[in-house]
Amino acid sequence: MKSKPAVVTSRGETTIAICGNPNSGKTTIFNAITGLSQKVANYPGVTVERVTGQFTLRNQTESFTLVDIPGAYSLSPFSPDEQIAVDALSSQGAGEPSAIICVVDATQLERGLYIVLQLLQYEKPLVVALTMVDLLDSRGTTIDCKLLSSELGGVPVIPVIAPKGKGIEILKREAAAAVSSVQNGMVAVFPDEVEASIETLRKVGSGSKLSRGYLQRVLFDRNGASERHFLTLHPTAKPILQDCRSRISTQSGELSRAETEPLTRSAGQIATKVVTAQSKQATTITEKIDRWLLHPLLGPLALIAVMAFMFQSIFSWAQPFMEGIDIAIGWLGAMATSSIPVGPLHSLIEDGIIGGAGAVLVFIPQIVILFIGIAILEDSGYITRAAFIVDRLFRFCGLSGKSFIPMLSSFACAVPGIMATRTIENRSQRFLTILVAPLMTCSARLPVYTIMISAFIPLKYYGPFNLQGLTLAALYLLGIVVAVIVALILKKTMFRAQQSTFMMELPAYRMPTLRSVLTRVVNRVKSFIVRAGTIILAIAVIVWALSYFPHSDSVTALWTEKIEAENLAFDSQKEMVTGATYQELEQTHLSRLNELAHGMAGDHVRNSWFGRIGRAIEPVFEPLGWDWRISMAALASFPAREVVIAVLGTTFNLGSDANEDSSRLTDKLRAAKWDRGDNAGMPLFTPAVALSIMVFFALCCQCGATIVTIRQETASWWYASFAFIYMTTLAWFMAFLTYRVFNGLGL
C-alpha cells in the first residue's frame, strides 16, 4: 500500500463511510464506535436523513467523521435506500469518504463478499469488519481472516463482536490507517467484452478521473443514476454505451449476468477457501423460534399480542412520566414569568413559549417507549417476520408487507414513518404507504381525544369496557379503516397495474443489546426536542402573536373599571361581616375577580386578529356544529395539531397554559356557550360537537412537518398537496356526517 493525501471535508475532518448488507450488524458497530456523538442531518441536495458520528483514537487528537450508509446487498441499487448508499459511496468532493468500512456477517460470508468485491472496484481504501464470528464459533466453524485478507488483495479483515466491544479499537485503528493508503483494486475477473467496454467508456470520459466502480455502474445499470450522470457529461456517448451493452448481452446471454456471475463466482471461491470445517448444521435456534412465531395460527396471534402489548405500554407506562414533565413545565413557566411584569413579554413566555412549545415536550415519555419498542422489534429481527405475516393482507390494499414498519412508526409520528418507507423498492407501494401513513393515529392526536372524551363522553360501563375507552379505540380504528379504504381507491386509480416485489431476507434472531437500543432512543429523542424547539416553537409564537395583538387599550380599560368596582364593593362589604361569613364573601370575591380576568382575556381574543379571522371563516365550519372559536382553534392547528390545546385554552378564557390534564379546561369547555347567532346562550359543546371535532382531527392533515416530509420523500409538491387536500376534504365531510348523525340522535 502506498501513501496518498487524505480527502478532507470542508470542516477539516476526515470522513469514513460504514456500509454493508442489511442485518449485518452495521448499526451496532456504528453505535459502538461513535456512541452518543451521533448527529442526524440531511444529505446535501436530496434531503435524506444522514447519520454521522465522531471518533478519535486512544491518545490521539485527530477526529474522524463516520457516516452510516443505509444497508445494501449490491451497488446496483434496487430500493431508494440502496440508491442513497451508492450515491454516498461514490460521491466526490465534499463529504467524499476517504475510506470505507464494509461490515460482513460471517455467517453469510459469500453474500457479504459480493458487495466487498464491488467496493474494491472503487479503488478506495477499504476495511472489512467481520461480525457474528461468535455465532460461527458456536457452530464449530472458523474463518481464516489472514487468508481472506490476502484473497481480497490485502484489505484488512477485522473480526468484531460489537455487542461486547471486542475488536472495535482495532477496527478504529485500521480504518484510520487505511485513510492514507491506496487499495489495489478489484479481484473478480470479468468477460473480455466487459473489459473492452470499460476501456471504451474510459476513453469517452478521458480527462476526468473515473473509477472502475463508477464505469461499471454506468455500463450495467440501465437508466441508473450513474448512466444519467455520465450521459449528461458526454451526451454523444449514448450510441457507444448501447453498442457496448448489446455486445455484452450477445456474449453473456443477459447484460446483468456479465457482472453478477463473475462476482458470485469469485465470492463463492473465496468463501470456500477461507471457511474451514463447515459442518452440516443442525436446526438453528432461529428455525425453532420461527416454527412458533410463523405458525399459520399462532403467528398472527403472537403478532397481535406483541402490538397490543406495545401500545398498552405506551399509554399506561408513560402516564406518570408525562404528568411529571407537565408539572415541571408549569413550575418552570411560573419561575420564568414571576419576575416579569404583566404585559406582552410575560404573555409571550407564559402563553406562547411555555404553553405552546412546552406542551409538546409532555409527549417525550410516549416517544421514548415507542422507540424502545421499535428498536427491540427491529434489532431482534422480528419486524421482518411481521412483514412476512401481513404481506398478503397489505397487498390486498395496494401496500406491501414492508409497509408494516412505516405504518407502525406512524402511530408515534408520521414523520419517521414516512422516512421508513425507503426500504420499499416498489415506487407505487412506497408512495401509497406515504400517502396513507398520516392517517394512523399519531401521539399528537391523543391530547385532543383525551380532553374531548373526558369532558363530553359519559363514563358508562358495558361489561369490562367503558364508553370512554371504546370511543378512543373507535378513533384509532377509524384511522386504520379509512387508510384501508383510501389505499384501495388509490390502488384502483392513481397507482394502477404496477408490478411489485417483496423479496426480503429473514435474518437470524438476535438479542437486542441495551447499548444499541438506548443509543437509538437517545438520538431520536434529541432530534424530537430540537424540532419542538424550532418549528413548533415558531408556530406557537405566531399563534400567540395573532391572538394577543392588537391588545386594545379600550378593552383593558373597560374591564379594569369592572375589576375596580368589584374591589370597591368587596372592601365596603368586608367591614360588616366576620368569621365564616367573611370567608364565604372572600371566596365569592376571588371567583368574581377570576371571572372578570377571564372575561377580559376573552374580549381581547375576540378582538385579536385571530378572533377576526375566526369569525370570517366561521361559515366554513358551521355545518360541523362549530362556532368561530373552535373553527379558529382547528385552523391554528394546521401547522401542528398539538397546538389546539393551547389555543382552546386561550380562547376559552383560561390562558393558554391550560393543558389536557387540567380539569379546569374540561369544566370551561362544558360551560362554554354560543356567544351569538340563533343558539346564543345554549351550550356550545354537545357530545355530537365533540365527536365531530375528534373525527376531524383523526382524518385531517394538520401537520406541517408531515407535508414537508412527504415533499422530501416523493420529491414532488404534487404528492404533498394531494395528501393535504384529500385528508382535509375527507376530514370535513366525515366530521359533517358525524355531527349530523349524532345531532340527529339528540346527543
Binding site: F78, R111, S256, T260, L294, L393, F502
Partner: protein, 92 residues
C-alpha cells in the same frame, strides 16, 4: 460442494424440474435456473439464488403467500409470483 452432494443423489433418482413457487414446505431441491430479463432476476442472483444452490422450502405465510425458503445459508421470503422466476430440480 452442496452441488456435488446432490449430483451423487441424481444418479439414483429421477429429477423433476418445477418452479420454486410450486415447492411444498419441507421439500428440498437445487436451483437450476432463473428466468432472465426481469429486474428481479439480478437481485435474486445477488441474494444468493444461484444455479446449483441448495434450497429448502420452509413454510408459507398464514395467508399462503409469501413463502420462506432456506437458500444456502440465507433465509429468504419471496412472493409466489417472484418465486416462479426460479426453477428448481427436485429429487424424489
Amino acid at each position: 460442494m452442496k452441488n456435488q452432494a446432490y449430483t451423487s443423489a441424481q444418479l439414483q433418482s429421477p429429477v423433476i424440474s418445477i418452479g420454486l413457487d410450486k415447492m411444498t414446505p419441507g421439500q428440498e431441491g437445487t436451483v437450476s435456473g432463473i428466468k432472465p430479463h426481469s429486474p428481479l432476476s439480478r437481485r435474486l442472483f445477488e441474494m444468493g439464488v444461484v444455479p446449483g444452490r441448495h434450497v429448502v422450502c420452509l413454510r408459507s405465510a398464514p395467508l399462503r403467500d409469501p413463502v420462506a425458503f432456506q437458500v444456502g445459508s440465507t433465509c429468504l421470503s419471496l412472493r409466489r409470483s417472484e418465486a416462479s422466476l426460479v426453477s428448481v430440480d427436485i429429487v424424489d
